[in-house]
Symmetry: C2
Subunit: 184 residues, 2 copies
DNA sequence: CGCGACATGTAAGCAGTTACATGATTAT
DNA sequence: ATAATCATGTAACTGCTTACATGTCGCG
């Protein structure tokens, strides 16, 4: 029982009070490189956190009737989050990857199909890398150590390194399959 | 509904007939870098695959009474697996990573604690890399394109690249946190 | 007046983890 | 004998995805 989504939400609320909709948007933004959740998971979790006394909300009205629940961390919520944040944890066991599973069985795939699969995967990682580099260009140097942007920058760097490694590997895969082909 | 475990099992049975226990062991071996499952997930899945007519089993006796169900792919199973294997898929959306989530909120952590967390994570990735390099040393060059070892080698290379990227990033994190500290 | 963004929720089902439960075989 | 490994299963629960369901607000 890790309740990681709980801490993702508490962490965001620690930065700013916001609604479930806003949290949903954040998880579609810079966080989505390493954590994501649908609104169908976020709203029930917020309800649970309210019952646990870690967050509280007040209702705001946008326009004339549209309700918006703006959540804020309670002192207990802040404490729980801080405790989690500073806790050393075991490295994640298995980052599951369907593409790598396919490649594990690649001896059953003919060269042409295999190179097609690799090219398809490569395209997607290259597009992602371009996107990440675009975001990186928006940072001018390393953000202030105490600003929210600091963690943002760290994990962006991590995502870039990760994509670069994936691309390097995929190119190596193509090379190996091609090389094995030529030897015949 | 992806049923990825289904295809992991079919793929292993395509290599060799084996029991649920053997499949469990394989998923603790070289596959565990990108797919894993407990026996409590494997046995019910094998039951389901049998009902679907994709695998069949015969009971072997080890010793005098201990039963062992040895599963084999049926023609339908082989066909289903092959179709899946050659299918292009979208890249996985979010490889969830709790450590990166912590780092996202790192502006809330003091330098010493933060460097401790990074060092702890780094240790684990370095140990993993050593382990992977050991396995790599057991391969003498690239295995035959048509052997089971071929895919094994490809994904091992991928795991090494991945760990190297993680290590490079963690060292960069330490550098950045240290750098930000000195500036004060 | 229609479309996209804002806003919140529930239900059903699949995937995965932890714990419960049992027993045989082999090596020390 | 006793511990590690072989061997198979179920139950309860958490986590996550997809689909269902509803309604407002602002812009063109």
């Amino acid at each position: 029982m890790q309740r990681t989504l709980k801490y993702a939400i508490l962490g965001l609320l620690n930065q700013n009070s916001m609604s479930g909709y806003d949290i949903s948007a954040k998880l579609e933004g810079s966080l989505k490189e390493f954590w994501s959740a649908n609104h169908s998971q976020i709203y029930p979790e917020l309800k649970k956190l309210t019952e646990e006394g870690l967050v509280e909300f007040k209702i705001e009205i946008t326009g004339s009737v549209l309700e918006r629940k703006v959540y804020t961390l309670t002192a207990a919520g802040k404490e729980d989050f801080t405790r989690w944040l500073c806790t050393k944890a075991d490295m994640i066991a298995t980052p599951k990857d369907v593409f790598r599973l396919r490649m594990f069985f690649s001896n059953e795939i003919d060269d042409e199909t295999c190179l097609g699969l690799v090219a398809h995967e490569l395209e997607q990682h290259e597009a992602r890398l371009v996107h990440l580099k675009d975001i990186e260009a928006g940072f001018h140097g390393i953000p202030d150590r105490n600003s929210d942007k600091f963690g943002d920058y760290l994990v962006l760097t991590g995502a870039i390194y990760r994509e670069e490694a994936a691309i390097r590997w995929l190119k190596r895969c193509a090379e190996i399959v091609d090389g094995a082909q030529e030897k015949v």
